[in-house]
């Protein structure tokens, strides 16, 4: 086995809290979140950046945490699904997903919610086409996506189907 590379200090603002950890430089952001910080909301569904279940926001940008080295997030704000609720209050994305039945098994939900936060921050009233484009980086095997689209659309008050051909 290769000689292990020296560990490094990883420091970032995770869900509003500054954390400082000694990590191996090759550790992914997902490993650091799940294994070091015990934030297991972000999931590993494929490990190759396809399924989207590990999506978190790094400096307000959606990132596949399974393909992101933790050190790429050095010094930056990281938001995971655990950080969406504020003071125990669910965020509006979470409330809408629950109310619209957009969560079945729940494995894709953390990534879907982060994608929703990202979309709404750039486009407050996205149409259906924009919503589908945004969440098409995320695999859901349970819902057929209909209720997820409805949940996101309700947040932007755009009526479903508005910009669909």
């Amino acid at each position: 086995m290769d000689k292990p590379r020296p560990k490094q200090i990883f420091s970032a603002q995770v869900n509003g809290q500054w954390v400082e950890l000694l990590i191996a430089p090759q550790e992914t952001l997902l490993e650091v979140l799940r294994d070091h910080l015990e934030l297991t909301g972000s999931k590993e569904g494929c490990g190759e950046g396809v399924c989207g279940a590990c999506t978190v926001l790094v400096d307000n940008q959606p990132r596949r945490a399974c393909l992101t080295l933790a050190l790429e997030a050095q010094g930056l704000p990281v938001l995971t699904v655990e950080g969406l609720a504020q003071g125990g209050e669910l965020s509006r994305e979470q409330r809408s997903f629950i109310a619209h039945g957009a969560i079945q098994c729940g494995y894709c939900a953390p990534g879907m919610l982060m994608a929703t936060r990202d979309l709404l921050s750039r486009q407050p009233t996205p149409g259906e086409e924009a919503i589908r484009r945004q969440i098409s980086g995320h695999v859901c095997r349970c819902t057929g996506y209909a209720k997820i689209v409805e949940a996101v659309a309700a947040l932007g008050q755009a009526s479903p189907g508005e910009d669909r051909p």
Binding site: L39, K43, E48, I98
Partner: protein, 768 residues
């Protein structure tokens, strides 16, 4: 029962969804225990080989390695779902039969150490001839994968009802077609994971995604030679099943062995590729269908021979081989029918029950009906209606259908889709198709076929429900809580649920045979009614009214028609405690099925107490230059008995249409090298539908109010996964004016059909 229902039929958010939205729900791979070790499995690089030796002495020297297991630790005990299908050694000793089969495993302080040690295990293999399809495996002189199965035929289901030959002679028109499809796969978003924890009293607790905690515990207790009560399968969140978590896998056996050997908790998390190849996959299938009809399109006889590529071991083979036929015989009137289903061993990963149960079966049956209708100059819609099952009829193999809304499903779907205005009248390259199907609610499972439940009242007036039903993601937890709240007159939040934990919960058949609402929900309903009766008996003297005049509502027990006379439930519970009569209800639901019915030896008798039915209409547009199919619209309908929660039922419809219809009929298939390596075990290459692939969907819930189901409910969603595939296959044939016999309908297959049509070649099915 109060006729006014407060929860049944309401669109209610699920009780489990907040934890999932917060990222707080723990899936098996999220569980971390103190001193937990991490496991990795060494897998066969050969699709078929003799194991000559396994040497893990070097692996043991890697720092951090705490336990290694190989075939020597399995005692070569064979496991199987049925007594007669015990053909899988959970850690093989002398032979591997598919590429990726488990050979050895390591538990270490870190995943890195486990991986490093894995590379040091030396296994000597002697490669053997590889058989990768049913024809090679059944060929004369082919090596046998299991010595007691000639021609590598694992299962033969033979059913013959009426006089099929006479039926063909009486038919006005007879068609014979062959349909085929390679393996489809579950791709549940959560990869498989097991945590095993040896406890101080010698018992073992385990978490894993499962569809039947009690069946997992039973099989593991047998394999580990432990008393059943010492193998505890605990509840965790489960990231989808779709039939793929039903039976027992080497993963839990390995994790258990490692944990016992190391006397430490062990976590084994599968990669996406391992989940695809080392749990279960769908069956590849060839189906030869011969159907005879009279002049009006009534089916007089049908003869089906089906070959299913089962992979290396039996798994649920007898069930998987039967269900495609059973769904069909439930759905359509068939005076004379013959079925020969063969499940064949090959050197591929193990085939399991898959939600869609054979694209090349169900879609073949419906597409052939369309073709027959066309030849007779009839509307396929009319032909469906003429052959549709009705309530009160008996299936060819002897199941009474007590409730059936199939005709309503067909009629309403066709109306909503504008069938009459569109069929035969659409512009070129546009098509419309109709699929219909039926599914069971449970199978005869002997002593394990029923579900039981308990409910206890707590002194604050809330209740705790205890049920063995597991939630794979479909909403079973919510279903149980909603039924309990309805019966007990409490709020959803007043019900605590203990479920799917074999240490605490009574037996349940599992959630893989569409039985959970009927049996598990029925048991909870009965337990709650029992508890309520106890509660009312205690309250009656206090309210100076007979128990039958009392009802529970909003946490109060009140005299009917006199709401001023009321007693808080909490007070009644305390009264009961003071009298030494704590309120503890129990209930069970044992489906009325014929337990003499057996998959192979006696496939006759009542299969399920009740059946659900569905119909879908699809409208598609085909690009003639690329062969690409675009689905314009899906109308989904099902008779689910009664929609306890329409929000959940719709989610089952939409998800079923995505998996079975859009993915299953247009894109999903495993591909293999000639060495037996799967080319596309990952999300990158295996194409599941994404949000951008999904068409507009309309849901039509048909309620036949079943007499046995809780509040009339049966099963929701599975028939939609099947009938959506059937509808799309029919719509594509309608669009291009030619049937396509090989699925999924990828652009290449559709384009080939279009080109053959333009060249004037006859439409031909796959060649066996």
């Amino acid at each position: 029962m109060s006729p006014q229902l407060r929860y049944v039929g309401q669109r209610l958010p699920r009780v489990d969804s907040e934890a999932k939205a917060r990222g707080a729900a723990l899936f098996a791979g999220d569980i971390r225990l103190p001193r937990m070790l991490h496991a990795k499995v060494l897998r066969s690089p050969h699709a078929h080989a003799r194991i000559l030796s396994v040497d893990y002495s070097e692996a043991l020297k890697v720092p951090g390695v705490r336990a290694v297991v190989s075939g020597q630790d399995s005692a070569a005990v064979k496991w199987g779902v049925f007594r007669y299908t015990r053909d899988q050694v959970l850690l093989p000793v002398e032979r591997v039969r598919f590429l990726g089969e488990e050979v050895a495993a390591i538990a270490a302080e870190s995943l890195t150490a486990a991986e490093e040690a894995l590379a040091l295990i030396k296994v000597q293999y002697q490669p053997l001839p590889v058989m990768l399809n049913v024809w090679e495996a059944m060929a004369e002189g082919a090596p046998l994968l299991h010595d007691d199965h000639p021609h590598n035929i694992n299962v033969h289901v033979a059913i013959n009802v009426g006089d099929v030959e006479q039926g063909f002679r009486e038919s006005h028109l007879v068609r014979e077609d062959t349909f085929s499809a390679p393996e489809d796969s579950y791709f549940m978003t959560e990869p498989y994971a097991v945590v095993a924890n040896p406890l101080a009293d010698g018992s073992l607790e385990l978490w894993m995604p499962n569809a039947a905690p009690h069946q997992k515990a039973k099989a593991l207790a047998n394999a580990l030679k432990l008393p059943l009560g010492k193998v505890i399968v605990r509840k965790c969140a489960i990231g989808g099943a779709f039939g793929g978590r039903s039976d027992v896998f080497p993963a839990e056996f390995i994790a258990a062995l490692l944990a016992i050997k190391a006397q430490r908790p062990v976590r084994l998390v599968y990669s996406r590729e391992e989940n695809s190849l080392a749990t279960r996959k769908g069956h590849g299938m060839f189906t030869m269908i011969k159907t005879g009809v009279d002049q009006e399109g009534r089916v007089l006889a049908r003869d089906i021979t089906c070959y299913m590529d089962g992979g290396a071991y039996s798994s649920t083979g007898p069930i998987a081989t039967s269900v495609p036929f059973l769904c069909m015989e439930q759905c359509y009137k068939l005076p004379n029918v013959r079925f020969n289903g063969y499940r064949v061993y090959t050197n591929k990963p193990i085939g399991g029950m898959y939600r869609v149960h054979g694209r090349a079966f169900a879609s073949g049956v419906d597409l052939q009906l369309d073709l027959l209708a066309e030849e007779l100059g009839l509307d396929p819609l009319e032909v469906r209606l003429k052959n549709a099952r009705q309530a009160g009829e008996t299936t060819p193999t002897g199941s009474l259908v007590q409730s059936c809304g199939l005709t309503e499903c067909i009629t309403k779907s066709a109306l909503a889709a504008g069938w009459r205005a569109k069929y035969g009248k659409l512009p070129p390259w546009r098509g419309i198709g109709l699929g219909t199907n039926s599914v069971q609610t449970g199978f005869p499972m002997g002593i394990r076929g029923g579900s039981s439940a308990m409910v206890k009242f707590n002194e604050d007036g809330q209740a705790t429900v205890i049920s063995g039903v597991v939630d794979n993601g479909q909403g079973n937890d919510h279903m149980l809580v909603q039924i309990a709240a309805e019966v007990l007159g409490l709020e959803l939040g007043d019900i605590q649920l203990i479920s799917a934990d074999t240490q605490a919960t009574p037996n349940d058949p599992g959630s893989y045979s569409m039985i959970s609402t009927l049996a598990g929900g029925g048991a909870v309903k009965a337990a709650c009614q029992d508890a309520l009766a106890q509660l009312l008996a205690v309250a009656a003297p206090a309210l100076q009214a007979p128990p039958q005049d009392l009802e529970a509502q909003g946490g109060q027990i009140m005299v009917a028609n006199d709401p001023d006379r009321a007693l808080p439930v909490a007070k009644a519970v305390r009264l009961a405690l003071a009298q030494g009569k704590p309120i503890m209800g129990r209930g069970s639901f044992f489906p009325r099925v014929d337990n003499k019915r057996e998959w192979l030896s006696n496939p006759f008798g009542q299969l399920s107490e009740t059946f659900s039915f569905g119909a879908c209409v699809a409208e598609v547009e085909v690009d003639p230059t690329t062969g690409r199919v675009r689905i314009l619209n899906l109308v989904l309908s099902q008779d689910c008995g009664r929609a306890l929660n329409p929000l959940i039922v719709e989610g089952q419809f939409e998800g079923g249409a995505a998996m079975g219809g859009v993915g299953g009929m247009l894109a999903e298939e495993f591909q293999w090298t000639k060495e037996g390596r799967c080319l596309n075990p990952s999300f990158l290459e295996y194409k599941v539908p994404l949000a951008c692939d999904m068409p507009a969907m309309a849901n039509i819930i048909v309620e036949s109010m079943d007499q046995s189901g809780p509040f009339g409910a049966k099963e929701a969603g599975m028939s939609v996964a099947m009938s959506a595939a059937q509808a799309i296959a029919g719509a594509v044939a309608n669009a291009i004016g030619r049937p396509v016999f090989e699925y999924p309908l990828t652009p290449a297959r559709v384009l080939r059909a279009i080109q053959e049509k333009l060249a004037g070649l006859p439409a031909k099915g796959p060649q066996g």
